[in-house]
């Protein structure tokens, strides 16, 4: 680690103290109902749950920074049902950005949990060495991958023309396999970003500091998002307990720290160019 990076990390220590002024606690009462219905952002049952407003800030701790923030707040509702924690995130976004071409980026959101520590010893900024965080990350383009099929060259560039791809059976993503993948190293190496057969619009990430975010091989979480009237509403759901040692294990009847992040594709948010929230207390219902 360079002295430059060390200086950045030490700057974090001051931020950790800010947890005391974070948003009021989010309550996740225990409710009945099946997971499938709670996964629907439009499910009317969500309206009966308490709503918390979380303040979103531009990320300016690590390089690169977010220069022009567009989101100030995030509405959060939460519920515990049948051993699952469901989080419903709602925020205003004037444009629906899900297509990715060379110069376009996707809308996205994430919820972060401390894996082994708490809100005092674990940094909300992607965790810190020895104190990992688990992040459930949803992207609009992954939602489209599932709803409409893998978003590909032909969607970003509808009039695009190309004769053929060497060794491929055709031009569609699922027709490019085997030896043809020598030209697509991201797919050949099973980079989770290059997945063309996605089952869920979410992934789980483990991180222990800036630049260390790594997709977990084992996905326990689920999610679903809808865009209506200039608003994204996304449900992130994860089991309270999982078999994955890199996941946070959540216990009913406890308070845990939770943090959030939002990305706006239209203003080229990606990676560290994001809106973040400090740790907030989440009251997990049940016993």
């Amino acid at each position: 680690m360079t002295t430059y990076q060390c200086a950045k990390i030490s700057a974090l220590a001051g931020w950790l103290a800010l947890r005391a002024v974070a948003a009021p606690a989010i309550e996740a009462p225990q409710k009945s109902g099946d997971l499938k219905s709670w996964l629907q952002p439009g499910n009317a049952a969500w309206q009966s749950l308490p709503e918390s407003t979380v303040t979103m800030l531009p990320q300016n701790i690590a390089i690169p920074n977010l220069k022009n923030p567009v989101f100030q707040k995030l509405q959060v509702r939460a519920v515990v049902t049948n051993g699952w924690l469901c989080l419903r995130l709602e925020w205003e976004d004037k444009t629906r950005d899900a297509e990715v071409t060379r110069a376009m980026f996707t809308d996205a959101c994430a919820a972060e949990f401390a894996v082994s520590g708490n809100g005092t010893d674990t940094s909300p900024f992607m965790g810190n060495p020895g104190k990992p965080v688990e992040i459930v990350h949803w992207k609009a383009i992954w939602q489209d991958d599932i709803e409409k099929g893998y978003r590909d060259v032909e969607h970003g560039y509808p009039n695009h023309y190309y004769d053929y791809y060497p060794l491929a059976k055709g031009k569609k993503a699922d027709q490019i396999s085997g030896p043809a993948l020598m030209y697509n190293p991201g797919r050949y190496l099973n980079n989770p970003i290059s997945q063309t057969q996605r089952k869920e619009p979410v992934e789980e990430i483990v991180a222990e500091g800036f630049g260390s975010a790594t997709s977990q091989k084992h996905l326990d979480s689920r999610g679903w998002g809808t865009y209506q009237q200039n608003h994204w509403t996304v449900v992130l759901a994860r089991p309270l307990s999982t078999p994955d040692p890199t996941d946070a294990q959540l216990k009913p009847g406890t308070n845990i720290p939770i943090a959030f992040a939002l990305w706006d594709g239209a203003t080229r948010n990606r990676g560290g160019r994001k809106h973040y929230a400090m740790w907030t207390d989440l009251k997990i219902g049940g016993k």
Binding site: P64, A103, V153, Y157, G186, R187, N190, R268, G271
Partner: protein, 387 residues
């Protein structure tokens, strides 16, 4: 921010990471006086590495006309404009590098090209600068150029083949918040880890040469890999060996103070200083070195290749008087093997293989001339000059 030494600008400079030079640095020399923009290098690269889905507009190697050709559009004039005035004091650069000019919260000064910037790889092709009709004064155009070749006087252009520079201080690497980009210790080749990249495109934004490209199919960024599977076997990359104009040479380059005068790369770059880095003022210490085109106005060449360019042009113009310099340049395109030394033997130049130490190639200064008799006795016919 740590300080590192950049010999191309003659001073220390800021870089986000501590300086750590590789054990050996792979480098290239391109002779711009010989390039005819046939794009054989472009196609050699394209068919070898980027024929797949999502790589349709990706050119790890391209050849553009200067001053009006760019791929992507305006790549160099845009970043030069953003950087502002770039001043030299002798061989020391006194302006700001792209790392030093970075705004707060950024690792490097850069921009992300627009989608359409990739739409016209041959924009400005063969477009000349300056002509008598366009108001050139004393052989120097007045800036109203862009004329097609309407007169032989005072007009100039040249072809600029470009690949990743495998920089000593890569801006792509400095920009990647994922730390997905690494510079290999063994040969200095800069690579994007395709299992770790998440397609943020900060490398595309940060590289002033715009050599990383985003792949919308895999959603990762990809770039020139210096044909490392070839290089690991002692062989020069595809774009070098396929060049029909024999304008390219690739091999390992020493630091200036450790230069070996009998190594063709060291000799041409450090000893003769006839091959120069592209836009050294950016501060990346790029490792593709160009022999500047001798007919181009010195003002333009100075901006592009730095203050050593005048001497380089003079050296090149006098190459015919220097057998050793001529010999080194005759090794271009003469062998697929990477050379570690060369020597002149009578009227031949001998290149020594880097890996096995044997003779890799022997090139005569003058090819033997053979005059065939007018009548071909074998087929019983006269030979007609039909060419």
């Amino acid at each position: 921010m740590p300080k590192v030494f950049n010999w191309q600008i003659g001073r220390e400079m800021d870089y986000p990471y501590d300086g750590a030079r590789p054990d050996h640095q792979f480098a290239y020399i391109f002779d711009l006086n010989k390039c005819i923009a046939c794009q054989t290098c472009t196609i050699a690269c394209k068919t070898t590495w980027t024929a797949g889905k999502g790589q349709e507009t990706m050119l790890w190697n391209n050849v553009e006309s200067k001053p009006y050709g760019y791929f992507p559009l305006g790549w160099d004039v845009r970043i030069l404009d953003m950087l502002g005035a770039q001043s030299w004091d002798g061989l020391k650069y006194t302006g700001k590098t792209l790392f030093e000019a970075a705004e707060a919260g950024e690792a490097v000064l850069g921009y992300l090209p627009d989608d359409l910037d990739y739409a016209n790889p041959n924009v400005g092709e063969d477009d000349c600068f300056g002509s008598e009709l366009k108001g050139a004064v004393n052989g120097v155009a007045d800036g109203s150029g862009g004329a097609y070749f309407d007169t032989v006087h005072h007009s100039w252009m040249f072809y600029l083949p470009r690949i990743c520079n495998h920089c000593t201080y890569p801006a792509c690497l400095a920009s990647c918040s994922r730390k997905s980009i690494y510079k290999r210790k063994m040969d200095g080749i800069v690579l994007i880890d395709q299992s770790r990249c998440r397609g943020y495109r900060d490398c595309v934004k940060g590289c002033p040469y715009k050599r990383p490209f985003y792949n919308p199919h895999t959603r990762t960024s990809e770039k020139c890999i210096a044909c490392y599977p070839f290089v690991e076997q002692g062989q020069q990359p595809q774009c070098v060996t396929m060049c029909i104009g024999k304008i390219r040479l690739a091999g390992y380059l020493s630091l200036p103070e450790k230069a070996n005068k009998n190594h063709p790369m060291d000799y041409l770059i450090h000893d003769q200083q006839v091959a120069l880095p592209l836009y050294p003022q950016f501060g990346l210490e790029p490792n593709v070195y160009y022999i500047p085109p001798v007919h181009v106005p010195p003002q333009f060449l100075t901006q592009m290749f730095g203050p050593r360019v005048h001497k380089a042009v003079e050296t090149y113009r006098n190459a015919h008087k220097d057998p050793k310099l001529l010999a080194a340049m005759m090794l271009f395109g003469s062998t697929e093997r990477i050379l570690k030394e060369f020597r002149v033997e009578k009227n031949e130049v001998v290149g020594i293989d880097m890996m096995n130490g044997g003779e890799a190639v022997r090139v005569p200064f003058t090819e033997p001339t053979v005059v065939r008799p007018f009548r071909d006795e074998k087929v019983g016919a006269f030979r007609h000059n039909i060419s």
